[in-house]
């Protein structure tokens, strides 16, 4: 491990219940700065649930209850004084299905900076929209049609627009919940390429069902199984020399 490696998020003994059902049984995990961490595991293992804990999207589910610590740069994001709105500007999220707002491409990117008062409309906003779209590698494709609806783009372009929209608030962490599962291989390749660039500036956590994708894009991999974190380590180690038999069975495709 690098000596200068920094921990962005530190999760200690995180448990989560949906009503009486315990979905996560005490997760301990470190997410390192400016790296890509992949969560893998069979369906229903809790990896998406866990990802959604990281920017408190689970707050919207009434029956959901959480115990344990989820530290972002040392402070607990579940502390009572934490403003969820502020948290989500630091920890952005990209979803499984591309979900641009049914507004113009420009508006999609400008929306969040505007509601958070980061930038006022005008040349500053134009610049922010442009840099965000450039960072998401979609500027060249949309620069001539910024006023057209974002929903008219192709699936892969929509997903990159969603990434641009997330980048626009300058988050520290970007959570990606199976961002390529609704995309074709070419669009997927573009997103993966983009992740590689983005990790210079952002900490990325990605949930994926695609083993090859996890192996390709991530620096660290966490293997979840039935609400437990079975194994966590450098991706290369997980894929070449897993410690647990379960992990090996899963990544070699014996089950899951």
């Amino acid at each position: 491990m690098d000596t200068e490696m920094q921990t962005k998020m530190k999760i200690r003994d995180l448990k989560l219940w949906y009503g009486d059902f315990e979905a996560l049984h005490g997760i301990n995990l470190d997410v390192y700065s400016d790296k890509v961490t992949a969560f893998i595991g069979p369906s229903g293992c809790g990896k998406s649930t866990f990802l959604r804990c990281m920017n408190r999207m689970n707050d919207r589910i009434a029956s959901c209850r959480i115990e344990g610590q989820m530290l972002l740069e040392g402070s607990d994001i579940y502390a009572p004084e934490v403003d969820v709105v502020q948290l989500r500007t630091h920890v952005g999220m990209v979803f499984q299905k591309p979900n641009p707002f049914p507004k113009s491409i420009y508006e999609n990117v400008a929306y969040a900076p505007r509601i958070h008062g980061l930038v006022t409309d005008g040349p500053d906003m134009d610049e922010l929209v442009e840099t965000s779209l450039k960072k998401a590698s979609i500027w060249n494709e949309v620069k001539d049609k910024l006023q057209q609806p974002g929903t008219a783009l192709s699936g892969g372009q929509q997903q990159r627009l969603c990434i641009a929209r997330t980048i626009a608030v300058q988050p520290d962490v970007i959570l990606m919940d199976e961002p390529c599962s609704a995309l074709d291989p070419i669009a997927t390749a573009k997103i993966e390429e983009l992740m590689d660039e983005l990790k210079n500036d952002y900490t990325i956590v990605i949930v994926t069902h695609n083993m090859q994708q996890a192996a390709r894009v991530s620096d660290y991999t966490a293997y979840f199984y039935l609400g437990d974190l079975m194994e966590f380590g450098e991706t290369q180690q997980i894929f070449t020399a897993p410690t647990h038999q379960k992990t090996e069975d899963y990544i070699t495709g014996r089950f899951g």
């Binding site: 009434a62 989500r88 299905k97 979900n99 049914p102 969040a112 509601i115 997330t166 608030v169």
Partner: protein
């Protein structure tokens, strides 16, 4: 060399195929028959109503010589030839003393005027024989017709006046204005309350016993017979709050009670139709609940909300039962000047006319139905148009 495909391709028509096709054809026929039957009833209904209503849109006028004298002030019959007193509409005759009062210079002059004929004359000329018009008057009318002193004109009075005890001057205007006032009250009360309730229940409320209770009750309220809302309106608005009886305010508030559950249900359906992914996207960017609802969910749900509200209001507009109880089913000839004055509404006016025995009123009943249907169909067309627009934007 024998494979399965060969077998079934060379077997000829399979018996199950024939059976299946017959069943399909039968099903097709039943569906078509049901649609034709429904359409048939609709066509019969429209032909009947329009056929009955058309005569109400034109009116007989007669040319009479009017003498303005001092005596007319005390006896308006003296203004015209006494033979014509049964032929000319009485409401015009009754207005003569006031006309002279207002303009004394008229005294001593005379003029020839086209005056709306009495309803019996009108009916006689429209071919409805034996309707209370005596033979001697029929002869006078026939003679006037030969002299060109009878003409058939469009019945503007129907759209320019309120109810009357004389069919020839009974019109729809007062009821239409009453309906407009009532509907405005209903809209101003039911739409904001209904939409806000739905937004709260759908976007903000947590799922607990209380909200579930509210939900069940709203759904039940939509199924309550409308006359019960009339009783509720009477008890709350008129008896308790002291709203004037028969007023547009009392009727509008009562109809608002009735429309509220419909608007809430329609709005909730519209909100629920907004994809969850849009909410997630907005929440994920750090939008607050209010911002998510206001910036993203409401604009997308708006066409659905408008459609639901318009259909709810259209139903309120055609409602009669609750208005009986709050006193709007009455003979009210004048258009209301304010929401506190006694008024009637279109369906109530139609009902009032339908209970009158004179033939002129049955025409006006059908004409009133046509006016009401036109308004309702326009409202529904507007709702459909909004719905189509929403599909385009999606």
């Amino acid at each position: 060399m024998h494979n399965k495909a060969d077998n079934f391709l060379h077997q000829g028509v399979h018996p199950r195929k024939r059976k299946r096709e017959r069943a399909d054809a039968r099903f097709h026929f039943y569906g078509l028959a049901a649609v034709s039957l429904a359409l048939g009833f609709l066509v019969i209904f429209f032909i009947d109503i329009i056929g009955q209503a058309l005569p109400a849109f034109h009116l007989t006028e007669v040319l009479v010589k009017v003498h303005y004298t001092e005596a007319v002030k005390s006896n308006y019959n003296k203004a015209i030839d006494h033979k014509l007193s049964r032929i000319v509409g009485r409401s015009w005759l009754r207005s003569l003393p006031m006309k002279i009062e207002a303009n004394p210079a008229l005294i001593g002059t005379e003029e020839e005027l086209w005056i709306a004929a009495d309803s019996r004359v009108d009916q006689y000329l429209k071919g409805h024989d034996g309707h209370g018009l005596k033979n001697k008057y029929r002869k006078i009318v026939d003679k006037m017709q030969q002299q060109g002193k009878v003409r058939d004109v469009f019945n503007w009075a129907f759209f320019q006046s309120g109810d009357s005890k004389l069919p020839e001057s009974a019109g729809i205007l007062a009821a239409a204005i009453g309906s407009l006032f009532t509907l405005l009250i209903t809209m101003l009360v039911a739409v904001p309350i209904g939409v806000m309730t739905a937004i709260y229940l759908e976007e903000f409320a947590t799922d607990n016993t209380f909200t579930r209770l509210v939900e069940v009750n709203i759904n039940n309220l939509a199924a309550i017979p409308s006359i019960l809302y009339g009783l509720l309106g009477l008890a709350i608005f008129i008896n308790f709050m002291g709203v004037p009886r028969s007023s547009a305010l009392a009727g509008g508030l009562t109809l608002a009670l009735m429309t509220l559950p419909l608007i809430i249900i329609a709005t909730r359906a519209a909100l629920r139709a907004v994809p969850e992914s849009i909410r997630e996207a907005a929440f994920g960017l750090g939008a607050s609940s209010l911002q998510v609802a206001w910036h993203h969910v409401l604009p997308l749900a708006m066409p659905g909300i408008l459609t639901g509200s318009i259909i709810g209001l259209a139903q309120a507009m055609g409602e009669t039962a609750p208005l009986i109880i709050v006193g709007m089913m009455a003979y009210i000839p004048d258009a209301p000047g304010s929401i506190l004055e006694a008024t009637t509404v279109l369906p109530a006016q139609i009902y009032t006319w339908s209970t009158e025995s004179m033939r002129g009123y049955s025409e006006r009943t059908a004409a009133g139905i046509m006016v009401l249907l036109t308004v309702l169909l326009s409202l529904n067309a507007l709702a459909v148009k909004l719905r189509n627009r929403s599909e385009k934007n999606w």
